[in-house]
């Protein structure tokens, strides 16, 4: 019974069309939530449906989302970086030092990005070369990076960035479309293509699902992880440029606690915190959801501390919903 003589059974490529799969996905659920929040906001406040107000709302998430895209890839690959907010602090401080030394805007941007990448390289080296768990490494560097920033700045602050530096965080490309929003949109496309359309993206999923299997399949697992730490560092550097430009100053407490908001965004976007699955469209929608919620509550004069309660409830609710739904259906059968 030779293989070549028997007619092989034909196996179809797919059972469900990609369209069908998309309709049933997490992203669709999240999109429905986003639309619901949008409608609620419209009903709750007469000021919500205003082009400039909506434009302002985007600043709630653009900087976090830049980091969240890279973080999504890192988490899908089975690692995490909790030091991102501290990287912002250190990168911003480095820019401040460069400004004091008379650097112009192009140099400031380069310093910010380079500092971010260096921090990412440091995290990546500790994880891949020494084989340490990334959650421990980056909890350590979280204190380290911000600590350096405190040593340099103490109680003080860097002010007086060049006027043209303000373009990144305060500029508009066209009408109500801000520079930050354009950067966010471009990065969404770039990271979406990188994760979903390239062979590198495929290896990210493979590493996250089964690092041993990926290694045995000839994937340079450590190199993939190193690249992702560098990317996350770079995106944190970029977020530092935008945030510093928007605030116009650097304090060592800049972006405090942002790492958790970034991770929340990634998880809300449907990325499995244990690695292996998730998508960039999911993270993009999650960014809008979080932005809309905080902005809508802001219009209603809800204080920030209550807002974080809402975000927490939203995260738990959206994650628990599908589970509750399937439990309820099982009970009915």
């Amino acid at each position: 019974m030779s293989m070549s003589q028997t007619t092989p059974r034909h196996i179809p490529d797919r059972l469900r069309s990609p369209m069908q799969a998309r309709l049933m996905s997490w992203e669709s659920l999240l999109l429905a939530v986003a639309v619901g929040i949008f409608i609620l906001n419209t009903l709750a406040s007469p000021y919500f449906l205003d082009a400039w107000n909506l434009s302002d709302a985007t600043f709630n998430f653009t900087e976090k989302a830049m980091i969240a895209f890279a973080m999504a890839l890192l988490i899908i690959a089975g690692e995490i970086d909790l030091s991102v907010a501290s990287i912002i602090a250190l990168a911003s401080t480095a820019m401040g030092v460069a400004m004091e030394m008379g650097a112009g805007t192009p140099v400031l941007v380069l310093v910010g990005l380079a500092t971010g990448m260096l921090c990412g390289a440091f995290n990546g080296a500790l994880v891949t070369k020494l084989g340490l768990p990334s959650i421990v490494v980056t909890i350590g560097t979280m204190s380290l990076f911000r600590g350096l920033s405190y040593i340099i700045l103490g109680d003080g602050a860097f002010r007086g960035y060049p006027a043209d530096f303000a373009w990144f965080g305060q500029g508009y490309v066209f009408w109500v479309i801000s520079v930050e929003f354009v950067i966010f949109a471009l990065l969404a496309v770039v990271f979406g293509l990188l994760l979903h359309k390239t062979s590198f993206g495929r290896t990210v999923y493979a590493v996250g699902n089964n690092p041993t299997g990926a290694l045995f399949s000839g994937i340079r697992v450590d190199r993939v992880k190193m690249i992702l730490f560098l990317l996350t560092g770079l995106m944190s550097g970029l977020a530092a440029v935008c945030l510093t430009s928007r605030l116009g100053s650097t304090r060592p407490s800049i972006a405090s606690g942002m790492e958790l908001e970034v991770v929340t965004m990634v998880v809300l976007g449907g990325v499995n915190i244990l690695g292996g699955s998730g998508s960039i469209p999911g993270v993009v929608i999650a960014a809008f959801v979080m932005g809309l919620v905080t902005f809508g509550l802001g219009l209603l004069n809800v204080p920030g501390i209550v807002m974080s309660i809402f975000i927490g409830l939203l995260l738990i609710g959206v994650i628990a919903l599908p589970r509750l739904w399937s439990m309820w259906r099982k009970k009915r059968v």
């Binding site: 019974m1 179809p12 490529d13 495929r202 999923y205 000839g218």
Partner: protein
């Protein structure tokens, strides 16, 4: 064959067995692991259970300890049938097992390990620590172990841990003690101490089931033997009545020809030359040449260092010495990526962890090492991925609902086909198959064998690591036997017999067989 009959009608039959497995059958999907077997254990005697890998020994242990429920037959304790529905039932009946890796707790003291789950209770239901330490001390000294009950387990040597495991077994007042390859991790002096301990247990009237591959220790300590082959009983009796040769014949004695459709392949030029490959702990001085169209078998006991060597060959672990020549070039292979480039691929034994990525679809598993072929400037082209996956999975007659089904949803045999398809898609020169048919159903087994043969006929060089003698005999042109990390024999033609393989693998010297 002697003493196939039910009772031990062989002279010492006057004492009835303590425990009997009577006509036990256990079926797994596609495999009959035990087929109406009988096993008798006698008080104060050591019964050796002998058989190849896959003969059904571990299934017997799991049935005896209540982990598996038999599909047919009964367990008789002192002549009356008892259900072993749970491990607790088995423990209550006085059956206890010391496994190769008994679960013990590193951070707890010796006494706590011995009495975990059944510690003596004092007032208010609290653990009576003093009594626990005292009893542990008594048990330890009764087996001649000089270990303090207060020491933490992590501070003990492997041999001492073994003694703790045995003490634990004795603390439940066992009638039947199962020892599953107890000497695998022990040094020679420790083994001697274990033998003395077994003698002590015998003197205490325990019935002991001793599972081992090593003939020297079987002849040293066993009073009786039972031999299984393919889940069936092939012989049982008293050790004094048999020789090593008799036992080997019982273990392997079967016709191995017709099952394996080995095709004549033209053997060509040297493809892979391995010289002096060594590793500090796992293997030493491996030398061989693999030719085009050849199937080279690697036989040995589990733990002989075969998989470790193969994984070193593809760059997972680094060798301390040695070189490879592939297709004329001398190469250093430092990673699987470099091995793939050199044309050497490896189908691992552990499919779930090393072979496949279970939570990803079939087509993505197949194309994973070939992504550069199915992508353009780094962008994957899905149509080509499906085409490549289809080409190779259909050649292997894969059964799946669709190519975007996750590999984890397939049967073991079909998972293996996906892994083999993945590696063939890289167009290798050498394919290493590590226990290629372990745990897969008979149908898929035949398909894998047939396909292996076809690959060799097409000019691929195949290395097959296998612990199954029929598979090794049926498929290989030549066989290298490894024992304790070393090559001990290279066999082909008439020298390649099941008896020689087993002799070399377990290390019985006497009558030749070396080539």
């Amino acid at each position: 064959m002697r003493n196939l009959g039910p009772q031990g009608a062989d002279g010492s039959g006057d004492t009835p067995p303590v425990l009997t497995l009577d006509n036990i059958t256990k079926v797994f999907p596609g495999v009959k692991a035990l087929d109406g077997v009988r096993l008798d254990l006698y008080a104060g005697q050591v019964t050796a259970l002998i058989g190849e890998n896959g003969a059904g020994k571990s299934t017997v242990v799991k049935t005896l300890t209540g982990i598996y429920q038999p599909d047919g037959g009964q367990i008789l304790l002192g002549g009356t049938p008892v259900p072993f529905a749970t491990p607790q039932d088995a423990a209550k009946a006085g059956v206890t097992a010391i496994h190769q890796e008994t679960v013990l707790f590193d951070e707890l003291s010796v006494a706590e390990n011995v009495f975990i789950g059944h510690a003596p209770k004092g007032r208010f239901g609290l653990i009576d620590t003093a009594a626990m330490y005292k009893k542990t001390g008594e048990i330890l000294s009764s087996i001649g172990a000089k270990i303090s009950p207060a020491v933490k387990l992590k501070d003990l040597s492997i041999a001492s841990r073994h003694l703790v495991a045995i003490a634990r077994a004795l603390s439940v007042e066992a009638q039947v003690v199962i020892m599953d390859e107890p000497t695998a991790a022990l040094s020679q002096t420790e083994i001697e101490e274990l033998y003395e301990l077994v003698d002590t247990l015998k003197a205490q009237g325990k019935a002991i089931l001793f599972i081992s591959h090593k003939f020297d220790e079987i002849f040293r300590i066993a009073d009786r033997f039972t031999v299984f082959r393919d889940g069936q009983l092939v012989g049982a009796g008293i050790m004094n009545d048999v020789t090593e040769a008799d036992l080997v014949k019982m273990m392997v004695g079967r016709s191995v020809d017709q099952l394996f459709p080995k095709r004549e392949a033209e053997i060509g030029e040297d493809v892979l030359v391995v010289a002096g490959y060594s590793h500090p702990t796992e293997f030493e001085d491996i030398n061989f040449t693999l030719r085009r169209g050849e199937i080279l078998g690697f036989y040995g006991l589990v733990g002989a260092g075969r998989s470790e060597f193969m994984q070193s060959l593809i760059g997972i672990t680094k060798p301390s010495k040695g070189a490879v020549r592939v297709g004329g070039d001398i190469r250093v292979i430092r990673s699987p990526a470099e091995a793939i480039k050199a044309g050497i691929v490896y189908v691992p034994e552990d499919r779930g962890k090393q072979g496949a990525i279970l939570d990803m679809p079939i087509f993505q598993n197949v194309t994973l090492p070939s992504l550069h072929k199915t992508s353009n400037n780094g962008f994957v082209r899905m149509a080509e991925e499906f085409a490549l996956a289809r080409e190779y999975t259909e050649r292997l007659d894969l059964r799946a609902a669709s190519l975007d089904t996750n590999v984890g949803a397939l049967s073991g045999g079909n998972q293996q086909k996906v892994v083999i398809a993945k590696w063939l898609a890289t167009k290798p020169r050498v394919i290493i198959l590590d226990e290629p048919t372990k745990g897969i159903d008979i149908g898929s087994k035949a398909a894998v064998h047939d396909f292996m043969s076809e690959l060799a006929a097409q000019g691929l060089s195949v290395i097959m690591v296998s612990s199954e003698i029929p598979e090794i005999m049926g498929m290989s042109d030549r066989v290298i036997v490894m024992r304790d990390g070393r090559m001990v024999a290279e066999l082909e033609g008439d020298a390649l017999t099941p008896e020689t393989l087993v002799r070399q693998a377990v290390g019985i010297r006497e009558t030749g067989g070396d080539t």
